[in-house]
Protein backbone atom coordinates (compact mmCIF):
# COMPACT_ATOMS: atom_id res chain seq x y z
CA UNK A 1 0.00 0.00 0.00
CA UNK A 2 1.35 3.39 -1.00
CA UNK A 3 2.10 5.82 1.78
CA UNK A 4 3.43 8.73 -0.20
CA UNK A 5 4.32 9.69 -3.72
CA UNK A 6 6.31 12.56 -5.09
CA UNK A 7 6.34 13.09 -8.82
CA UNK A 8 8.45 15.37 -10.97
CA UNK A 9 9.72 17.11 -7.87
CA UNK A 10 11.84 20.19 -8.59
CA UNK A 11 13.62 22.29 -5.99
CA UNK A 12 15.82 25.20 -6.88
CA UNK A 13 17.51 27.61 -4.52
CA UNK A 14 18.52 31.21 -5.13
CA UNK A 15 17.56 33.59 -7.91
CA UNK A 16 18.51 33.51 -11.59
CA UNK A 17 22.31 34.02 -11.54
CA UNK A 18 23.01 31.99 -8.43
CA UNK A 19 20.34 29.38 -9.07
CA UNK A 20 21.11 25.91 -7.75
CA UNK A 21 18.91 23.16 -9.08
CA UNK A 22 19.00 20.56 -6.37
CA UNK A 23 16.08 18.30 -7.26
CA UNK A 24 15.40 17.97 -10.97
CA UNK A 25 12.17 16.10 -11.57
CA UNK A 26 12.50 13.50 -8.85
CA UNK A 27 9.97 10.67 -8.61
CA UNK A 28 9.65 8.50 -5.52
CA UNK A 29 7.06 6.25 -3.95
CA UNK A 30 7.21 4.89 -0.42
CA UNK A 31 5.12 1.93 0.65
CA UNK A 32 3.65 1.59 4.11
CA UNK A 33 5.92 -0.22 6.50
CA UNK A 34 9.04 0.30 4.42
CA UNK A 35 12.44 0.78 5.97
CA UNK A 36 14.45 2.76 3.45
CA UNK A 37 17.92 4.31 3.49
CA UNK A 38 18.60 7.50 1.55
CA UNK A 39 22.09 7.59 0.13
CA UNK A 40 24.03 9.93 -2.09
CA UNK A 41 27.06 12.15 -2.11
CA UNK A 42 27.24 15.25 0.03
CA UNK A 43 25.22 18.06 -1.50
CA UNK A 44 23.13 15.70 -3.61
CA UNK A 45 19.91 16.86 -1.99
CA UNK A 46 19.10 14.23 0.65
CA UNK A 47 18.28 16.76 3.35
CA UNK A 48 16.35 18.86 0.85
CA UNK A 49 14.21 15.87 -0.10
CA UNK A 50 13.58 14.95 3.53
CA UNK A 51 12.48 18.47 4.49
CA UNK A 52 10.10 18.57 1.54
CA UNK A 53 8.70 15.16 2.42
CA UNK A 54 8.38 16.41 5.99
CA UNK A 55 6.34 19.43 4.79
CA UNK A 56 8.91 21.76 6.33
CA UNK A 57 9.66 23.18 2.89
CA UNK A 58 7.63 23.56 -0.29
CA UNK A 59 9.04 22.23 -3.58
CA UNK A 60 9.51 24.64 -6.46
CA UNK A 61 7.23 22.41 -8.50
CA UNK A 62 5.96 18.85 -8.60
CA UNK A 63 3.37 16.74 -6.82
CA UNK A 64 3.53 15.58 -3.25
CA UNK A 65 0.79 13.44 -1.82
CA UNK A 66 0.74 11.49 1.40
CA UNK A 67 -2.14 9.43 2.75
CA UNK A 68 -4.11 10.74 -0.20
CA UNK A 69 -3.65 14.37 0.80
CA UNK A 70 -2.21 16.84 -1.72
CA UNK A 71 0.41 18.53 0.42
CA UNK A 72 1.59 21.06 -2.15
CA UNK A 73 -1.67 22.95 -1.85
CA UNK A 74 -2.14 22.92 1.92
CA UNK A 75 -1.86 25.99 4.13
CA UNK A 76 0.86 26.37 6.74
CA UNK A 77 -1.64 25.69 9.53
CA UNK A 78 -2.86 22.51 7.84
CA UNK A 79 0.69 21.30 7.18
CA UNK A 80 1.60 21.98 10.81
CA UNK A 81 -1.24 19.80 11.98
CA UNK A 82 -0.46 17.15 9.39
CA UNK A 83 3.15 16.98 10.56
CA UNK A 84 2.07 16.71 14.15
CA UNK A 85 -0.13 13.71 13.49
CA UNK A 86 1.50 11.81 10.64
CA UNK A 87 5.22 12.59 10.48
CA UNK A 88 8.01 12.11 12.99
CA UNK A 89 11.46 13.65 12.68
CA UNK A 90 14.91 12.76 13.88
CA UNK A 91 17.59 15.31 13.03
CA UNK A 92 21.33 15.06 13.22
CA UNK A 93 21.87 17.97 15.60
CA UNK A 94 19.56 20.23 17.58
CA UNK A 95 16.97 17.64 18.29
CA UNK A 96 15.85 18.27 21.83
CA UNK A 97 14.68 21.23 23.88
CA UNK A 98 17.61 21.45 26.32
CA UNK A 99 15.66 22.98 29.20
CA UNK A 100 13.22 20.08 29.39
CA UNK A 101 13.60 16.54 30.65
CA UNK A 102 13.85 13.53 28.37
CA UNK A 103 10.22 12.66 29.09
CA UNK A 104 9.00 16.21 28.51
CA UNK A 105 10.78 16.19 25.16
CA UNK A 106 9.29 12.85 24.19
CA UNK A 107 5.71 13.85 24.90
CA UNK A 108 6.03 17.28 23.24
CA UNK A 109 4.17 16.33 20.01
CA UNK A 110 1.33 14.82 22.04
CA UNK A 111 1.13 17.81 24.38
CA UNK A 112 0.93 20.07 21.34
CA UNK A 113 -1.89 17.93 19.98
CA UNK A 114 -3.79 17.79 23.30
CA UNK A 115 -2.97 21.31 24.47
CA UNK A 116 -1.46 19.96 27.70
CA UNK A 117 0.63 17.13 29.10
CA UNK A 118 -1.74 14.32 29.97
CA UNK A 119 -1.02 11.45 32.36
CA UNK A 120 -1.67 9.06 29.50
CA UNK A 121 0.97 10.78 27.36
CA UNK A 122 3.44 10.65 30.25
CA UNK A 123 2.88 6.92 30.72
CA UNK A 124 3.21 6.32 27.00
CA UNK A 125 6.35 8.47 26.76
CA UNK A 126 7.98 6.72 29.70
CA UNK A 127 7.24 3.36 28.10
CA UNK A 128 8.86 4.48 24.85
CA UNK A 129 11.92 5.70 26.73
CA UNK A 130 12.20 2.36 28.53
CA UNK A 131 11.95 0.65 25.17
CA UNK A 132 14.82 2.86 23.96
CA UNK A 133 16.85 1.67 26.92
CA UNK A 134 16.54 4.99 28.72
CA UNK A 135 14.48 3.86 31.72
CA UNK A 136 17.07 5.46 34.00
CA UNK A 137 17.00 8.77 32.19
CA UNK A 138 13.28 9.56 32.05
CA UNK A 139 13.49 12.68 34.22
CA UNK A 140 16.99 13.65 33.17
CA UNK A 141 17.47 17.14 31.69
CA UNK A 142 17.92 16.74 27.94
CA UNK A 143 20.99 18.98 27.98
CA UNK A 144 22.84 16.48 30.18
CA UNK A 145 22.28 13.42 28.00
CA UNK A 146 25.02 11.93 25.84
CA UNK A 147 24.82 12.18 22.04
CA UNK A 148 23.55 8.62 21.61
CA UNK A 149 21.02 9.05 24.41
CA UNK A 150 19.78 12.27 22.83
CA UNK A 151 19.22 10.51 19.50
CA UNK A 152 17.31 7.72 21.20
CA UNK A 153 15.12 10.30 22.97
CA UNK A 154 14.58 11.91 19.58
CA UNK A 155 13.51 8.55 18.12
CA UNK A 156 11.10 8.05 21.00
CA UNK A 157 9.66 11.52 20.41
CA UNK A 158 9.32 10.87 16.67
CA UNK A 159 7.18 7.83 17.51
CA UNK A 160 5.07 9.49 20.18
CA UNK A 161 2.04 10.37 18.06
CA UNK A 162 2.26 7.00 16.25
CA UNK A 163 3.00 8.61 12.88
CA UNK A 164 2.87 6.71 9.61
CA UNK A 165 6.22 8.12 8.50
CA UNK A 166 9.45 8.89 10.33
CA UNK A 167 12.08 10.94 8.53
CA UNK A 168 15.58 10.75 9.94
CA UNK A 169 18.37 12.92 8.55
CA UNK A 170 21.68 11.30 9.43
CA UNK A 171 20.39 10.26 12.85
CA UNK A 172 23.63 8.44 13.57
CA UNK A 173 25.91 10.96 11.91
CA UNK A 174 27.71 12.01 15.05
CA UNK A 175 27.51 8.78 17.02
CA UNK A 176 30.16 6.12 17.44
CA UNK A 177 29.56 2.85 15.66
CA UNK A 178 28.18 1.02 18.67
CA UNK A 179 25.61 3.71 19.52
CA UNK A 180 24.80 4.12 15.83
CA UNK A 181 24.01 0.44 15.48
CA UNK A 182 22.03 0.51 18.71
CA UNK A 183 19.86 3.35 17.38
CA UNK A 184 19.41 1.55 14.06
CA UNK A 185 18.50 -1.64 15.86
CA UNK A 186 15.78 0.16 17.82
CA UNK A 187 14.46 1.75 14.64
CA UNK A 188 14.39 -1.67 13.01
CA UNK A 189 12.41 -3.11 15.93
CA UNK A 190 9.83 -0.33 15.78
CA UNK A 191 9.53 -0.79 12.03
CA UNK A 192 8.83 -4.50 12.49
CA UNK A 193 6.52 -4.12 15.48
CA UNK A 194 4.50 -1.06 14.52
CA UNK A 195 4.81 -1.04 10.75
CA UNK A 196 6.06 2.53 10.81
CA UNK A 197 7.68 3.68 7.58
CA UNK A 198 11.22 5.00 7.97
CA UNK A 199 13.30 7.03 5.54
CA UNK A 200 16.81 7.47 6.84
CA UNK A 201 19.52 9.45 5.12
CA UNK A 202 23.07 8.32 5.77
CA UNK A 203 26.58 8.27 4.36
CA UNK A 204 27.34 5.02 6.08
CA UNK A 205 26.98 1.92 3.89
CA UNK A 206 26.89 -0.30 6.95
CA UNK A 207 23.99 1.67 8.42
CA UNK A 208 22.29 1.66 5.02
CA UNK A 209 22.66 -2.09 4.77
CA UNK A 210 20.44 -2.54 7.84
CA UNK A 211 17.57 -1.14 5.74
CA UNK A 212 15.56 -3.26 3.32
CA UNK A 213 15.56 -0.62 0.60
CA UNK A 214 18.34 1.70 -0.56
CA UNK A 215 17.43 4.88 -2.40
CA UNK A 216 20.26 6.79 -3.98
CA UNK A 217 19.98 10.47 -4.86
CA UNK A 218 22.19 11.62 -7.72
CA UNK A 219 21.86 14.49 -10.19
CA UNK A 220 18.61 15.56 -8.58
CA UNK A 221 16.88 12.23 -9.17
CA UNK A 222 16.67 8.91 -7.38
CA UNK A 223 17.54 5.38 -8.27
CA UNK A 224 16.69 2.30 -6.25
Amino acid sequence: MTLLTVANLVKTFGSEQTETRVLRGLDLTLEKGQMAALLGPSGSGKSTLLTILGTLMQPTSGQHTMLGVDLTRASDADLTQFRNQHIGFVFQFHNLLPDFTALENVIFPTAIRDGRETAKARACGAELLIRMGLGERVHFPAANLSGGQKQRVAVARALMNAPELVLADEPTGNLDRASALQVMDLIGQINRDEGTTFLISTHDEKIASTCKRQIVVADGKVSG
Binding site: S47, T51, G54, L56, M57, D76, A77, T80, Q81, R83, N84, Q85, F89, F91, Q92, F93, H94, N95, L96, L97, P98, D99, F100, F108, P109, A111, I112, R113, G115, R116, E117, R157, N161, D169
Partner: protein, 400 residues
Amino acid sequence: MLYAFKIASRYLTASKAQTALLVLGVAVGVFIFIFMSALIGGLAEFIMARTAGDISHVTLQAEPVDPVLLHSFTGTTLLVQEPSTQKDALRDATNFLSLITDLPQVKAVSPQIAGSGVLRRGTKVAQVSIIGLEPGQESAILDLAGYMVGGDVQLRSGVVLLGKQLAEDLGLTLGQSVQVQSANGIDAALSVTGIYQIGAGGLDRRSIYVSLSTARTLFAMPQGLTRIEVKLFDLYAADAVTAHITALTGLPAKSWTEDGAQLLEALSAQAQTGYFLKTFAMITIIIGVASSILLSTYRRRPEIGIMRAMGASRRFVVLVFVLQGALIGLLGGLCGAAVGYLALLPFPTRDAFRSGTLPIDITQGSYGLAIALTFIGAVAASILPARAAARVDPVTAIGQ
Protein backbone atom coordinates in the same frame (compact mmCIF):
# COMPACT_ATOMS: atom_id res chain seq x y z
CA MET B 1 -2.40 28.18 26.31
CA LEU B 2 -1.71 26.03 29.35
CA TYR B 3 1.09 24.17 27.63
CA ALA B 4 2.52 27.35 26.12
CA PHE B 5 2.52 28.75 29.65
CA LYS B 6 4.53 25.77 30.84
CA ILE B 7 7.12 26.27 28.10
CA ALA B 8 7.28 30.02 28.74
CA SER B 9 7.79 29.67 32.47
CA ARG B 10 10.40 26.96 31.92
CA TYR B 11 12.30 29.26 29.59
CA LEU B 12 12.25 31.94 32.28
CA THR B 13 13.36 29.62 35.07
CA ALA B 14 16.02 28.02 32.86
CA SER B 15 18.04 31.24 32.80
CA LYS B 16 17.36 32.50 36.30
CA ALA B 17 20.00 35.21 36.51
CA GLN B 18 18.93 36.73 33.22
CA THR B 19 15.28 36.65 34.19
CA ALA B 20 16.02 38.14 37.61
CA LEU B 21 17.95 40.97 36.01
CA LEU B 22 15.15 41.64 33.57
CA VAL B 23 12.50 41.60 36.30
CA LEU B 24 14.69 43.95 38.30
CA GLY B 25 14.92 46.33 35.35
CA VAL B 26 11.16 46.35 34.94
CA ALA B 27 10.71 46.76 38.69
CA VAL B 28 12.97 49.82 38.69
CA GLY B 29 10.84 51.35 35.93
CA VAL B 30 7.69 50.62 37.91
CA PHE B 31 9.30 52.03 41.04
CA ILE B 32 10.11 55.29 39.23
CA PHE B 33 6.55 55.40 37.92
CA ILE B 34 5.09 54.97 41.39
CA PHE B 35 7.54 57.34 43.02
CA MET B 36 6.76 60.02 40.44
CA SER B 37 3.02 59.51 40.85
CA ALA B 38 3.27 59.83 44.62
CA LEU B 39 5.57 62.83 44.41
CA ILE B 40 3.61 64.75 41.77
CA GLY B 41 0.33 63.89 43.47
CA GLY B 42 1.67 64.76 46.89
CA LEU B 43 3.22 67.97 45.64
CA ALA B 44 -0.05 69.03 44.05
CA GLU B 45 -1.89 68.15 47.24
CA PHE B 46 0.64 70.08 49.28
CA ILE B 47 0.60 73.15 47.07
CA MET B 48 -3.18 73.07 46.91
CA ALA B 49 -3.48 72.74 50.68
CA ARG B 50 -1.07 75.61 51.15
CA THR B 51 -2.68 77.85 48.56
CA ALA B 52 -6.09 77.14 47.12
CA GLY B 53 -7.08 75.02 50.09
CA ASP B 54 -6.50 77.98 52.35
CA ILE B 55 -8.39 80.60 50.42
CA SER B 56 -11.99 81.36 49.63
CA HIS B 57 -13.17 79.32 46.68
CA VAL B 58 -16.16 81.48 45.96
CA THR B 59 -16.22 85.09 47.05
CA LEU B 60 -19.28 87.29 46.99
CA GLN B 61 -18.19 90.87 46.88
CA ALA B 62 -19.67 93.91 45.22
CA GLU B 63 -17.66 95.55 42.50
CA PRO B 64 -16.19 98.82 43.75
CA VAL B 65 -18.34 101.71 42.66
CA ASP B 66 -16.40 104.12 40.51
CA PRO B 67 -17.07 107.69 41.57
CA VAL B 68 -18.74 109.77 38.93
CA LEU B 69 -16.76 112.68 37.61
CA LEU B 70 -18.93 115.76 37.93
CA HIS B 71 -16.72 118.17 36.06
CA SER B 72 -14.74 117.30 33.02
CA PHE B 73 -11.46 119.05 32.47
CA THR B 74 -9.36 119.58 29.45
CA GLY B 75 -5.75 118.47 29.48
CA THR B 76 -4.24 115.88 31.80
CA THR B 77 -6.31 115.03 34.83
CA LEU B 78 -5.04 113.48 38.02
CA LEU B 79 -7.74 111.64 39.91
CA VAL B 80 -7.28 110.65 43.52
CA GLN B 81 -9.74 108.13 44.87
CA GLU B 82 -10.07 107.05 48.48
CA PRO B 83 -10.51 103.32 48.95
CA SER B 84 -14.19 102.59 48.84
CA THR B 85 -15.61 100.52 51.68
CA GLN B 86 -18.57 99.46 49.58
CA LYS B 87 -20.87 100.07 52.46
CA ASP B 88 -24.19 99.05 51.05
CA ALA B 89 -22.77 96.55 48.62
CA LEU B 90 -24.11 93.42 50.25
CA ARG B 91 -26.93 94.82 52.28
CA ASP B 92 -29.18 91.81 51.75
CA ALA B 93 -26.37 89.32 51.92
CA THR B 94 -27.29 88.09 55.39
CA ASN B 95 -30.55 86.79 53.99
CA PHE B 96 -28.71 84.53 51.62
CA LEU B 97 -26.22 83.14 54.10
CA SER B 98 -28.28 80.12 55.09
CA LEU B 99 -29.17 79.51 51.44
CA ILE B 100 -25.48 79.26 50.55
CA THR B 101 -24.62 77.26 53.65
CA ASP B 102 -27.22 74.67 52.69
CA LEU B 103 -25.66 73.96 49.28
CA PRO B 104 -24.27 70.42 49.32
CA GLN B 105 -20.93 71.43 47.81
CA VAL B 106 -20.30 74.05 50.47
CA LYS B 107 -17.97 73.20 53.32
CA ALA B 108 -17.94 76.51 55.16
CA VAL B 109 -19.23 80.03 54.81
CA SER B 110 -17.63 83.09 56.32
CA PRO B 111 -19.52 86.37 56.43
CA GLN B 112 -17.09 89.24 56.63
CA ILE B 113 -16.80 92.97 56.94
CA ALA B 114 -13.47 94.16 55.66
CA GLY B 115 -11.92 97.50 54.98
CA SER B 116 -8.75 99.43 55.37
CA GLY B 117 -7.40 101.27 58.34
CA VAL B 118 -4.29 102.12 60.28
CA LEU B 119 -2.75 100.70 63.40
CA ARG B 120 -1.03 103.04 65.80
CA ARG B 121 1.22 102.45 68.71
CA GLY B 122 3.06 105.42 70.01
CA THR B 123 4.84 106.91 67.06
CA LYS B 124 4.62 103.78 64.94
CA VAL B 125 1.91 103.56 62.32
CA ALA B 126 1.01 100.71 59.95
CA GLN B 127 -1.43 100.61 57.09
CA VAL B 128 -3.53 97.48 57.39
CA SER B 129 -6.60 95.81 56.06
CA ILE B 130 -9.06 95.03 58.80
CA ILE B 131 -11.07 91.85 58.46
CA GLY B 132 -14.07 91.19 60.65
CA LEU B 133 -14.87 87.51 61.13
CA GLU B 134 -17.69 85.71 62.86
CA PRO B 135 -16.46 84.57 66.29
CA GLY B 136 -16.18 80.80 66.37
CA GLN B 137 -15.61 80.64 62.62
CA GLU B 138 -12.16 82.17 62.53
CA SER B 139 -10.70 79.20 60.68
CA ALA B 140 -13.56 78.65 58.26
CA ILE B 141 -11.54 79.76 55.24
CA LEU B 142 -7.94 80.46 56.18
CA ASP B 143 -6.74 78.02 58.80
CA LEU B 144 -5.97 80.76 61.30
CA ALA B 145 -6.01 78.37 64.25
CA GLY B 146 -3.27 76.35 62.59
CA TYR B 147 -1.09 79.41 62.10
CA MET B 148 -1.29 80.77 65.65
CA VAL B 149 2.08 81.21 67.28
CA GLY B 150 0.89 83.03 70.40
CA GLY B 151 -2.33 83.58 72.30
CA ASP B 152 -5.50 82.07 70.92
CA VAL B 153 -7.61 82.40 67.86
CA GLN B 154 -10.88 83.15 69.67
CA LEU B 155 -12.29 86.52 68.57
CA ARG B 156 -14.39 88.66 70.90
CA SER B 157 -15.34 92.26 70.72
CA GLY B 158 -12.44 94.45 71.67
CA VAL B 159 -9.70 92.05 70.65
CA VAL B 160 -7.46 91.85 67.61
CA LEU B 161 -5.29 89.14 66.01
CA LEU B 162 -2.06 90.30 64.41
CA GLY B 163 0.53 88.80 62.16
CA LYS B 164 3.90 88.14 63.75
CA GLN B 165 5.67 90.53 61.42
CA LEU B 166 3.29 93.35 62.17
CA ALA B 167 3.52 92.74 65.89
CA GLU B 168 7.30 92.91 65.66
CA ASP B 169 7.20 96.04 63.52
CA LEU B 170 5.04 97.78 66.10
CA GLY B 171 6.78 96.20 69.06
CA LEU B 172 3.56 94.66 70.26
CA THR B 173 3.24 91.60 72.46
CA LEU B 174 0.29 89.57 73.65
CA GLY B 175 -2.09 91.38 75.99
CA GLN B 176 -0.98 94.85 74.96
CA SER B 177 -3.39 97.37 73.59
CA VAL B 178 -3.27 99.02 70.19
CA GLN B 179 -5.14 101.90 68.54
CA VAL B 180 -7.06 101.09 65.37
CA GLN B 181 -8.56 103.68 63.10
CA SER B 182 -10.74 102.66 60.20
CA ALA B 183 -10.89 104.43 56.85
CA ASN B 184 -14.20 105.79 58.07
CA GLY B 185 -12.34 107.66 60.75
CA ILE B 186 -13.67 105.61 63.67
CA ASP B 187 -11.20 104.80 66.43
CA ALA B 188 -11.04 101.83 68.75
CA ALA B 189 -8.58 100.53 71.31
CA LEU B 190 -8.14 96.80 70.91
CA SER B 191 -6.10 94.35 72.90
CA VAL B 192 -3.83 91.84 71.17
CA THR B 193 -4.97 88.32 72.12
CA GLY B 194 -3.43 86.31 69.33
CA ILE B 195 -0.44 86.38 67.03
CA TYR B 196 -0.28 84.26 63.90
CA GLN B 197 2.35 83.46 61.34
CA ILE B 198 1.20 82.36 57.92
CA GLY B 199 4.61 82.53 56.37
CA ALA B 200 3.57 84.59 53.40
CA GLY B 201 5.11 87.91 54.45
CA GLY B 202 2.36 90.04 52.97
CA LEU B 203 -0.43 88.55 55.03
CA ASP B 204 1.55 88.64 58.24
CA ARG B 205 2.16 92.32 57.81
CA ARG B 206 -0.96 93.57 56.14
CA SER B 207 -4.00 91.90 57.65
CA ILE B 208 -5.48 92.09 61.12
CA TYR B 209 -8.50 90.14 62.32
CA VAL B 210 -11.27 91.44 64.55
CA SER B 211 -14.71 90.17 65.42
CA LEU B 212 -17.57 90.92 63.09
CA SER B 213 -19.18 93.22 65.68
CA THR B 214 -15.98 95.19 66.16
CA ALA B 215 -15.76 95.58 62.40
CA ARG B 216 -19.37 96.80 62.32
CA THR B 217 -18.46 99.54 64.74
CA LEU B 218 -15.26 100.45 62.96
CA PHE B 219 -16.88 100.72 59.56
CA ALA B 220 -20.20 102.03 60.79
CA MET B 221 -22.12 99.17 59.25
CA PRO B 222 -24.94 98.24 61.59
CA GLN B 223 -26.09 95.67 59.08
CA GLY B 224 -24.97 94.08 55.82
CA LEU B 225 -21.63 92.58 54.91
CA THR B 226 -18.82 93.57 52.61
CA ARG B 227 -18.12 90.07 51.47
CA ILE B 228 -18.94 86.44 51.94
CA GLU B 229 -16.24 83.86 51.53
CA VAL B 230 -17.23 80.30 50.72
CA LYS B 231 -15.10 77.20 50.98
CA LEU B 232 -16.03 74.10 49.00
CA PHE B 233 -15.37 70.43 49.54
CA ASP B 234 -14.10 70.15 45.99
CA LEU B 235 -12.21 73.23 44.99
CA TYR B 236 -12.37 72.25 41.33
CA ALA B 237 -16.16 72.64 41.49
CA ALA B 238 -15.75 76.35 42.19
CA ASP B 239 -16.75 77.59 38.74
CA ALA B 240 -19.98 75.62 38.71
CA VAL B 241 -20.88 76.58 42.26
CA THR B 242 -20.10 80.22 41.55
CA ALA B 243 -22.53 80.24 38.65
CA HIS B 244 -25.09 78.51 40.83
CA ILE B 245 -24.72 81.00 43.67
CA THR B 246 -24.98 83.95 41.31
CA ALA B 247 -28.16 82.52 39.86
CA LEU B 248 -29.53 81.73 43.31
CA THR B 249 -28.80 85.02 45.04
CA GLY B 250 -28.24 87.55 42.31
CA LEU B 251 -25.11 88.60 44.19
CA PRO B 252 -21.87 89.02 42.25
CA ALA B 253 -19.79 85.94 42.97
CA LYS B 254 -16.25 85.19 41.88
CA SER B 255 -14.51 81.84 41.67
CA TRP B 256 -10.97 81.42 42.96
CA THR B 257 -9.96 80.07 39.57
CA GLU B 258 -10.18 83.58 38.11
CA ASP B 259 -7.16 84.65 40.09
CA GLY B 260 -5.84 81.13 40.59
CA ALA B 261 -5.41 80.46 36.89
CA GLN B 262 -1.66 80.68 37.23
CA LEU B 263 -1.66 78.24 40.09
CA LEU B 264 -3.77 75.82 38.10
CA GLU B 265 -1.44 76.25 35.14
CA ALA B 266 1.58 75.57 37.30
CA LEU B 267 -0.07 72.48 38.73
CA SER B 268 -1.01 71.23 35.32
CA ALA B 269 2.52 71.88 34.05
CA GLN B 270 3.78 69.90 37.00
CA ALA B 271 1.37 67.09 36.22
CA GLN B 272 2.59 67.19 32.61
CA THR B 273 6.16 66.79 33.78
CA GLY B 274 4.98 63.81 35.76
CA TYR B 275 3.30 62.30 32.72
CA PHE B 276 6.49 62.74 30.72
CA LEU B 277 8.61 61.02 33.33
CA LYS B 278 6.09 58.24 33.74
CA THR B 279 5.89 57.80 29.98
CA PHE B 280 9.66 57.53 29.82
CA ALA B 281 9.61 54.95 32.59
CA MET B 282 7.07 52.96 30.56
CA ILE B 283 9.09 53.31 27.35
CA THR B 284 12.17 52.03 29.17
CA ILE B 285 10.19 49.03 30.38
CA ILE B 286 8.83 48.33 26.92
CA ILE B 287 12.24 48.62 25.24
CA GLY B 288 13.79 46.44 27.92
CA VAL B 289 11.20 43.70 27.58
CA ALA B 290 11.14 43.90 23.78
CA SER B 291 14.91 43.58 23.47
CA SER B 292 15.15 40.71 25.91
CA ILE B 293 12.34 38.79 24.21
CA LEU B 294 14.02 39.48 20.87
CA LEU B 295 17.29 38.13 22.23
CA SER B 296 15.54 35.11 23.62
CA THR B 297 13.95 34.37 20.24
CA TYR B 298 17.38 34.51 18.59
CA ARG B 299 18.95 32.30 21.19
CA ARG B 300 16.14 29.77 20.92
CA ARG B 301 15.87 29.74 17.16
CA PRO B 302 16.80 26.06 16.78
CA GLU B 303 14.26 25.19 19.45
CA ILE B 304 11.59 27.19 17.64
CA GLY B 305 12.46 25.19 14.54
CA ILE B 306 12.15 21.92 16.45
CA MET B 307 8.81 22.95 17.94
CA ARG B 308 7.49 23.92 14.53
CA ALA B 309 8.73 20.64 13.03
CA MET B 310 6.96 18.73 15.81
CA GLY B 311 3.72 20.39 14.83
CA ALA B 312 3.60 23.46 17.05
CA SER B 313 1.58 26.15 15.31
CA ARG B 314 2.80 29.70 14.75
CA ARG B 315 0.20 30.81 17.27
CA PHE B 316 1.77 28.51 19.84
CA VAL B 317 5.23 29.99 19.28
CA VAL B 318 3.81 33.53 19.55
CA LEU B 319 2.09 32.54 22.77
CA VAL B 320 5.27 31.09 24.29
CA PHE B 321 7.15 34.35 23.87
CA VAL B 322 4.28 36.73 24.63
CA LEU B 323 3.63 34.79 27.83
CA GLN B 324 7.27 35.25 28.77
CA GLY B 325 6.82 39.00 28.31
CA ALA B 326 3.59 38.91 30.29
CA LEU B 327 5.20 37.00 33.15
CA ILE B 328 8.14 39.39 33.27
CA GLY B 329 5.76 42.37 33.20
CA LEU B 330 3.62 40.94 35.97
CA LEU B 331 6.56 39.96 38.17
CA GLY B 332 8.38 43.23 37.59
CA GLY B 333 5.18 45.19 38.14
CA LEU B 334 4.39 43.45 41.40
CA CYS B 335 7.96 43.69 42.71
CA GLY B 336 8.27 47.34 41.67
CA ALA B 337 4.93 48.20 43.26
CA ALA B 338 5.79 46.38 46.49
CA VAL B 339 9.22 48.02 46.73
CA GLY B 340 7.67 51.36 45.81
CA TYR B 341 5.08 51.05 48.56
CA LEU B 342 7.69 50.07 51.13
CA ALA B 343 9.98 52.90 50.05
CA LEU B 344 7.18 55.44 50.43
CA LEU B 345 6.12 54.21 53.87
CA PRO B 346 8.67 56.30 55.83
CA PHE B 347 7.42 59.55 54.30
CA PRO B 348 4.91 61.54 56.35
CA THR B 349 1.25 61.13 55.49
CA ARG B 350 -0.52 63.85 53.54
CA ASP B 351 -1.97 65.39 56.69
CA ALA B 352 1.46 65.72 58.23
CA PHE B 353 3.29 67.44 55.40
CA ARG B 354 5.75 69.98 56.70
CA SER B 355 7.77 72.52 54.80
CA GLY B 356 11.23 71.19 54.13
CA THR B 357 10.21 67.56 53.67
CA LEU B 358 9.39 65.97 50.34
CA PRO B 359 5.59 65.99 50.18
CA ILE B 360 5.17 62.44 48.91
CA ASP B 361 1.69 61.02 49.10
CA ILE B 362 1.82 57.24 49.48
CA THR B 363 -1.87 56.99 48.62
CA GLN B 364 -1.24 58.50 45.20
CA GLY B 365 1.27 55.90 44.03
CA SER B 366 -1.07 54.62 41.27
CA TYR B 367 0.03 51.07 42.11
CA GLY B 368 -2.74 49.35 40.19
CA LEU B 369 -2.19 51.57 37.19
CA ALA B 370 1.55 50.96 37.30
CA ILE B 371 1.10 47.19 37.42
CA ALA B 372 -1.58 47.20 34.74
CA LEU B 373 0.39 49.47 32.39
CA THR B 374 3.54 47.44 32.90
CA PHE B 375 1.70 44.22 32.18
CA ILE B 376 0.06 45.62 29.06
CA GLY B 377 3.33 47.26 27.99
CA ALA B 378 5.28 44.04 28.44
CA VAL B 379 2.74 42.03 26.47
CA ALA B 380 2.70 44.64 23.71
CA ALA B 381 6.50 44.75 23.70
CA SER B 382 6.80 41.01 23.18
CA ILE B 383 4.21 40.69 20.42
CA LEU B 384 6.45 41.85 17.56
CA PRO B 385 9.50 39.73 18.42
CA ALA B 386 7.21 36.78 19.14
CA ARG B 387 5.52 37.11 15.76
CA ALA B 388 8.90 37.34 14.05
CA ALA B 389 9.96 34.21 15.90
CA ALA B 390 6.87 32.35 14.77
CA ARG B 391 7.68 33.16 11.15
CA VAL B 392 11.21 31.72 11.15
CA ASP B 393 11.79 28.98 8.64
CA PRO B 394 12.07 25.75 10.65
CA VAL B 395 14.60 24.29 8.22
CA THR B 396 17.13 27.13 8.55
CA ALA B 397 16.38 27.40 12.26
CA ILE B 398 17.23 23.77 12.88
CA GLY B 399 20.26 24.28 10.69
CA GLN B 400 20.44 20.79 9.22
